[in-house]
Symmetry: C2
DNA sequence: CGCCAGCTTGAATCTACTCAAATCTTGTGG
DNA sequence: CCACAAGATTTGAGTAGATTCAAGCTGGCG
């Protein structure tokens, strides 16, 4: 797992790479990010980056590791809103004294840093706006998944989304990426039971749609799968 | 239904009333809103205020009527993301050349106007930020509803949300409000079939949780219902 | 008056859930 | 290096909740 914490061969850290993919960053942005990255800190697995109902102190930039935005019901049921991946921002918002509307919990050990404040760079501000718009688009995708897709389609659709997002950070290639999720976590994201997720995964494996051995997921034909589950492209700007 | 298009007895139009409830507005904001309201226009039922994939030209403020943010699947399935009520903003975002990530369709005849641009008033800007944060909170609530609530709970929870939101605009009182939805539309919002929505509504009526005669919905005991479905309060700021 | 959209009802089916137990993995300490 | 524990995955049988399909009903409107 040395790879995960190091700059990949492309020459950029995954988080920077993702932001740069959203909006090509200028020197000021690159410098601010390099600087912020210096002061990175680790977060242990299962720790909360943000607690529902608590005031948001700062905006974080995820450098490494996965987290989940989650909400708990009084009776113990749990729903994962979306996954937080390297290059994602946690706690980005505009209002005064913002309060977290959901908990963000580390699914793996993580590396995070304070995001450079707005106003640092014109291009960085635009990247933040894009990031926020994309996050909202992913929430809409999640709603459609839960409301109108079958269990089989939900799994395929979510895997495609993760693949697309990780590709931007350079963490997925050709439908292949490291996936640090348990079937139980997947179930909480997909609105299913762990048992049913297991059965659907086996079905998908038998159908040669994907393989998920150990901690790596491979989508054998992302294009065909996208067609099959009717996943629309995620776009938030024109041009 | 004269009431709907007129200034209510409280002295403020529902849309202004809602924004004012989010952040107490200053004179500049009130004036800008009054001015914008002058240039209101109507939108016919079933017309689209915004089309998925199309560039967003302007931000709209809903003065009267209901709309739905909806996404269509290739095979005809349909999912409603959330409902757009008087006082809500449509197409509010920060990025350049934004593209709508979902279609917004009028469920009733509507009255809308161009929202006063940002920078008009400090308080109005804050109200916009609040509105956006609330909208995101409602998307999270929708995800939890679809992912982890039973059909019966989904209906109760959504009715409570609509009640809370309409109360802010002065359009609901004591759990009673006009609801211009068909059971089919409700089904598309709740991720259920119309037939099942019908059965669950009857069950809720028999249990004296609500009555829905004609076009008015009455929640007989919102507090008890909130308890029963485990609905958490919607908060986005401290203090 | 008759049409149409929306609502209601019934019966059969199916998807996903529950509960329970077995098996496989992984990490840890002896 | 093996034994063990804890966590995660897999399997099976029975059940419940929601869907499908089809038909009948109701009320508002031209």
């Amino acid at each position: 797992m040395i790879r995960a914490l190091r700059t990949p061969s492309s020459g950029q850290a995954p988080a920077v790479r993702r932001l740069d993919a959203l909006v090509p960053l200028d020197v000021a942005a690159e410098a601010a990010l390099a600087d912020a990255t210096e002061r990175a800190r680790t977060v242990q697995q299962r720790r909360e980056l943000l607690s529902e109902g608590a005031e948001i102190a700062e905006t974080l930039l995820v450098l490494d590791g996965w987290a989940a935005r989650v909400r708990h019901l009084p009776d113990g049921r749990r729903q994962i809103m979306n996954f937080v991946l390297p290059g994602d921002l946690v706690g980005l918002c505009d209002q005064d004294r913002p309060v977290a509307s959901s908990t963000v919990m580390a699914l793996t050990p993580m590396l995070v840093c304070a995001a450079p404040p707005r106003g640092t760079s014109r291009t960085l501000d635009r990247a933040y706006a894009m990031s926020r718009a994309l996050e909202e688009a992913h929430l809409l995708a999640q709603i459609t998944r839960l409301g109108r897709l079958s269990a089989h389609e939900r799994i395929g659709d979510l895997c495609l989304e993760l693949n697309e997002r990780l590709e931007m950070a350079g963490l997925a290639h050709g439908g292949r990426f490291a996936i640090p999720l348990t079937q139980e976590v997947l179930a909480d994201a997909l609105g299913l039971t762990p048992v049913h997720v297991n059965r659907m995964l086996q079905q998908a494996r038998r159908a040669r749609e994907l393989s998920w051995t150990g901690r790596e997921l491979v989508l054998h034909d992302p294009g065909a799968l996208r067609e099959q589950v009717g996943r629309p492209p995620v776009r938030v700007t024109a041009g």
